[in-house]
Symmetry: D2
Subunit: 155 residues, 4 copies
């Protein structure tokens, strides 16, 4: 099972992340890194920071695309941090730069990324999302299943 | 009841707009124009075009922010059409440029705009949206009620 | 001589505009409006504001694309003002949305727009630019000649 | 002399790069990597590819921010490639994400980045630029001097 050379975005809430979101994001980051993926995030705290910490624990690479202009706004667990100055429009940039997207939990910002991924056809896996009425993508129960689903979709 | 000097974005599906969405969008465009608002849209067909036609019927002004680089991709019912070349990121631009957003129907692209409006605090009114699990904004049943709700929020 | 249905961006310095730049921008705005063009600007003061004032004096239409998120940052002489929140990246948006660009005077921000217009092939006319070593476009001496040159290029 | 933790953008022509530009870009990439910098480029060929090759020869890290939507448009010498879909607006993103910018040679696209760097105050070093009439930044004669100048400005 390899995601070498693949870019996987991990998205999810910053301020409203639950402890379960954070735990899953860290495990997800670790597993994606072990599978060889480059992990992309929005660079901030909450799920983003937790995912970057997981990547770091496996000596992997994470790149955070920040909404603001200051690199030091980013969570230092990221390997690389790139300020975009695009505000919330960086959500769209994150989806574009990714080969697949995994959402951990939900928030309005996260939902904008989920919707853009669906709109533009980027493979999407969700752990514990909000109830959404349409076929939103592959919903799984754990970080391990999420990585399996990404591999399956990108394989 | 006046929206003079206010910018209201009308968002909604292009390809998947239902006849009821189109009828409501046209009435909404007309009522917003009569109330003095400048109407912003994504410049394309479906709900966007229907809203622009309603605005035009009341001699109002609509500005379409197109995702592509070609002005002639836009629906000609718009008063002005501006290519952005940002692709789906122009959804975020539309929300930013608006004082309030009215969604007519839903689609994944529309949902990305709804979510961004909620994320960034832009007043939001919805007619016939998808079932969304969180407090998404003011849901109303008709174009007339939508205009009342916009006036109430911006007043 | 008609520019009806055409969008012409007027670019130039804000803080460092000279009195001669402002006078030419106002005349240029007036002449473009009289020829039927929609005038686009960056929405701020200096050359942008002067051009919008000229447009307004001829009952024409100007649309200012602001770098920030607040509409009231814009010069009120504009007919419409759209916040983009893109910062200096709105310079590129302005060039994209225009059928032709006229630069009045120069500054680093203006030069970034001139260079993007040349890079992307948008017709470009310049009044009193900096000395630039390459064939930068059509350099003219007055607002009247600039409008003639735009008509000639778009004709 | 260390640039550890610093992000330096190397900009320059793609199609119109001269052999001397390419040679300097490769040496510059190598020296920046040896000094510990992360090198950012526009991801394409010409100066961008040459710089990435130099970085790679020193086992450094380069990140290419591509204008299009396809990762495989990028030059494979880059360590990481991120599609932005912003077209020429990614030039502005590149300048924003960098702590300093080094231009090797010139072109209209390069000039737009030089002008944005000057406009937004990002430290700028130039090797063999076009003749520009204003104080454009620190002009040097070689890749080695460019790295010294970057260190001096960021120190």
């Amino acid at each position: 099972m390899s995601l070498t050379g693949r870019y996987v975005a991990v998205i999810g809430p910053a301020d409203t992340a639950r402890p379960s979101d954070l735990a899953r994001a860290t495990e997800l980051g670790r597993l994606l890194a072990e599978a060889g993926a480059v992990v992309l995030t929005g660079g901030h705290h909450g799920v983003m920071r937790a995912a970057a910490a997981g990547v770091d624990s496996a000596d992997g690479v994470s790149i955070g695309l920040l909404p603001g202009l200051a690199r030091d706004e980013g969570a230092p667990e990221h390997t690389y941090l790139l300020p975009t100055g695009l505000g919330e429009l960086r959500n769209g940039l994150l989806v574009r730069a990714a080969d697949a997207v995994v959402a951990v939990g939900c928030s309005w910002g996260t939902l904008s990324e989920i919707a853009l991924a669906r709109r533009t056809g980027v493979p999407l896996v969700l752990i514990d999302p909000w109830d959404l009425p349409e076929d939103v993508g592959v919903v799984v129960a754990s970080a391990g299943e999420a990585v399996d689903a990404v591999v399956s979709q990108l394989g």
